[in-house]
Amino acid sequence: MPNALRRAIDRRRLKDPAFAFLFEPPPDTAVISLDCETTGLDRKRAELLSIAAIRIDGGRIRTSERLDLLVRPEGRLRPDNVAFHWLRPMDVAAGLPVDEALDQLLHFIGSRPLVGYYLEFDVAIINRLIGPRLGIRLPNRVIDVSGLYYDLTLPTTKDGYVDLSFEGMRRGLGLPQRPRHTAFGDALLGAMMYVKLAGMPKPKRRWW
């Protein structure tokens, strides 16, 4: 379904007029880097544990204007997943109720484009959680850094193989190594990848 059509339908389905701003044209040229930590990788069941969003204005990553929220999951944390997201039950106990966290997120991102790494998954989780209450999916444009990276890197490879792991991309782009496994850390790395990739000329040969 074309995006415009989907947006038009969703706009009519919106249950809460307070969120009409999501369908307005973006208020500025900023984009938002987004990352969520979840309890697992199953889009039907995974719950949000933390959300981080950072505003990007051109080449400037506004870490001073960021959203970095812990979410209290509805169910119980499965111990086997703690190793994956590094959040213990006691860490998320102080988190916000999921609806409140998502409201803050929606107000922070507005209708601006979203940037991230395999953002499709994060957006799917958010859509599942806001759907029953608001009747919509996130209407924002989604820019995946792995897609940008692939397009720019493919012409420079010999065998058509592009390392699209987050770490592989970080190395490929020559970005600093930073502590990860937090929503904020990954959102920041995603933002760095985006500013580096955005507007980069299409390469003829290796460019890093």
Binding site: R60, I61, F184, A191, M192
Partner: protein, 607 residues
């Protein structure tokens, strides 16, 4: 990410926890492409930049005056309200933290310790770099600490071990003594006490070392004066002391090492020179000088003082040698001069033979040749290489009568060509080391007189300061410590422009001083430049000299080659710490300002 901002990076390590929190919250991250302007010339800065990755060049119009690399920050000058002059342009894709200027200024106002970093003038930064190197007197050598001498690491053996094992260990480790451990007690066993026990008293080689060892240790703290160590050894008639740091034993101090340390003192070298009866004695003294430089530098004595001490000693060696070769009557009617860095008393290690003779009256050519040849050969033997430009007493151009020199000066002034300028520059630094110094004083006055008012000559003379341009691009990047970059030639980019610019001004103003720092001090009271600038110039000059010495000592060429060899003045960026780099950047900026000043001064004079 801001959570990972490196607060151990000076000056941020001086921030309190709450200040760190405020700063962390306000941080942004900027990404700039190659060639992008981070700060335009004259533009105010909303942010203070701390580089995470990449390189940024600071440019004054077209010239690169500094390059910033990872961990470096800019622009402190804008921050403290200095005129926002230079542009900052990305040399290689840069990722940096942006600290809001307002916030940083607020913290600077609240935290004086943090503020000083930004307010430090070059002079103060140099002091921070030099750390404890503020003691300028020779006194610092007399107050050398035990820890500065060679301390043998402690080697322990159990009290129950057999004597033969102790001997084997000593042999393996080339030691004369071992420490003996028995529970918490420590004793010492020496080669002498072992041989006493086994050979003289006939004890079996299997007997334990415990009863043979001495359990009353005479010890000294590592922090104590070396002088006291010598006193203790003499009083107890010992060859070694146990060195402790607090209660812990850190090693053994041998008498021979104390003596060799002390024997490198400059006055001991001076004494050797004064007592020298033969050329061989002088040669030994000359050799000890190189070791002296290393010791002086290692003890933290500042460069100008080292240069002065070494020049003084080298002068004495030359004077003594000249006296031995030429004989009294010859020396009375001649003046031996040294030129170049030796004449300026800035030589740190041995230099080329840059020397000449001023004769009162013509002397028998055969005798002159015998004296000068012997003198040159003796110096060669001492390790002073011949001057590549042949500025030596053996060259008749540099061993002539006062009247001949007078004629030369007139000729130089009239022709004002490249050779004349070079010769004038060489002679301008002449210092008398032996014979009658009055001859040099007369010659100097004659040189000043013949150049007085010859603005065209002085203009050409000063122009030579621009002989080497400070290259941009790859060279400048090196300052930022980039591995693949080319090297920075300290002499071309730093020392020479200062030395020659100052020399030009000194020549014009008829200054009799030859030392660059002395000349700057004399010039600071003239309209040419003010005191703060003189201070910056002296400090920059010292920085370059220090870097050069460090590089040369680091390469182990101290004992070898000439001081003026270009190859030895190239610095290795990998060895520079970020504070050193910062100081180097500032010093290069001072050189640049000075070159402009000299250019301006003489251009005006020539019109």
């Amino acid at each position: 990410m801001p959570d990972a901002f490196d607060f151990s990076l000076p000056p941020f390590d001086r921030l309190s926890d709450s200040e760190q929190r405020r700063l962390r919250k306000a941080l942004d991250i900027g990404f700039f492409r190659s060639g992008e302007t981070v700060l335009a010339a004259g533009a105010p800065a909303e942010s203070f930049f701390v580089l995470i990755k990449g390189f940024v060049e600071e440019r004054d119009r077209e010239d690169v005056v500094a390059v910033y690399g990872p961990g470096d920050m800019f622009d402190s000058r804008r921050l403290i309200g200095a005129p926002a002059g230079n542009a900052f342009i990305v040399a290689e894709e840069a990722l940096c933290y942006l600290i809001p200027t307002d916030l940083l200024l607020a913290i600077i106002r609240e935290n004086p310790g943090f503020a000083t970093y930004f307010h430090q003038s070059i002079a103060q930064k140099v002091d921070a770099l030099a750390g404890r190197r503020d003691s300028q007197e020779l006194q610092s050598l007399m107050t050398a600490r035990v820890r500065q001498a060679f301390i043998h690491p402690p080697e322990f053996i159990a009290a129950t071990s057999p004597a033969y094992e102790a001997v084997a260990l000593m042999k393996a480790r080339r030691l004369n003594a071992l420490l003996v451990r028995s529970g918490r007690e420590a004793g010492i066993v020496t080669a002498l006490s072992l041989s006493d026990a086994v050979i003289l008293r006939g004890q079996p080689t299997e007997s334990p070392v415990g009863p043979i060892a001495t359990w009353e240790l005479v010890d000294i703290q590592a922090n104590d004066f070396l002088f006291n160590a010598l006193v203790l050894m003499t009083r107890h008639n010992l060859r070694r002391l146990v060195v402790r740091d607090g209660r812990e034993i850190v090693g053994l101090l041998e008498e021979v090492d104390v003596l060799s340390f002390l024997s490198n003192h400059s006055h001991i070298v001076a004494l050797q020179v004064a007592r020298a009866e033969t050329r061989e004695d002088l040669k030994t003294a000359s050799r000890n000088m190189v070791r002296l430089v290393e010791v002086l530098h290692g003890t933290g004595v500042r460069i100008p003082f080292i240069a002065e001490t070494v020049s003084e000693l080298a002068g004495r060696i030359l004077a003594r040698l000249f006296g031995l070769i030429a004989g009294e009557d010859f020396a009375r009617n001649a003046c031996l001069i040294v030129m170049g860095s030796e004449g300026r008393r800035e030589q740190i290690l041995k230099t080329d033979q840059d020397n000449g003779l001023i004769l009162r009256a013509p002397v028998d050519p055969a005798r002159l040749e015998r004296v000068t040849t012997e003198f040159r050969n003796a110096l060669l033997e001492f390790g002073y290489p011949p001057c590549p430009g042949d500025i030596m007493v053996t060259n008749p151009d540099w061993a002539r009568t006062l009247d001949d020199y007078r004629a030369d000066f007139r000729h130089w002034s009239a022709s004002a060509d490249g050779a004349a300028v070079m010769k004038a520059a060489i002679f301008a630094d002449a210092t008398a080391v032996a014979g009658d110094p009055g001859l040099l004083a007369e010659a100097r006055t004659a040189l000043f007189d013949s150049l007085a008012g010859n603005d065209a000559f002085l203009y050409r003379f000063a122009q030579a300061a621009d002989a080497f341009d400070v290259p941009r691009g790859p060279l400048a990047r090196l300052i930022a410590g980039r591995a693949e970059s080319q090297a920075l030639d300290i002499k071309k980019s730093g020392l020479f422009p200062i030395v020659h610019g100052v020399r030009s001004l000194a020549l014009q103003r008829r200054l009799v001083e030859t030392n660059t720092i002395d000349r700057i001090r004399r010039l600071q009271d003239t309209p040419i430049f003010d005191r703060p600038f003189a201070e910056d110039l002296v400090q920059s000059f010292t920085v370059f000299q220090e870097l050069r010495l460090k590089t040369r000592l680091g390469r182990g060429t101290a004992a070898g080659g000439p001081d003026d060899a270009m190859a030895d003045t190239v610095i290795d960026p990998q060895r520079l710490g970020s504070l050193e780099r910062e100081v180097l950047k500032d010093s290069l900026a001072v050189v640049k300002r000075f070159r402009e000043l000299v250019r301006h001064h003489f251009r005006l004079a020539a019109i």
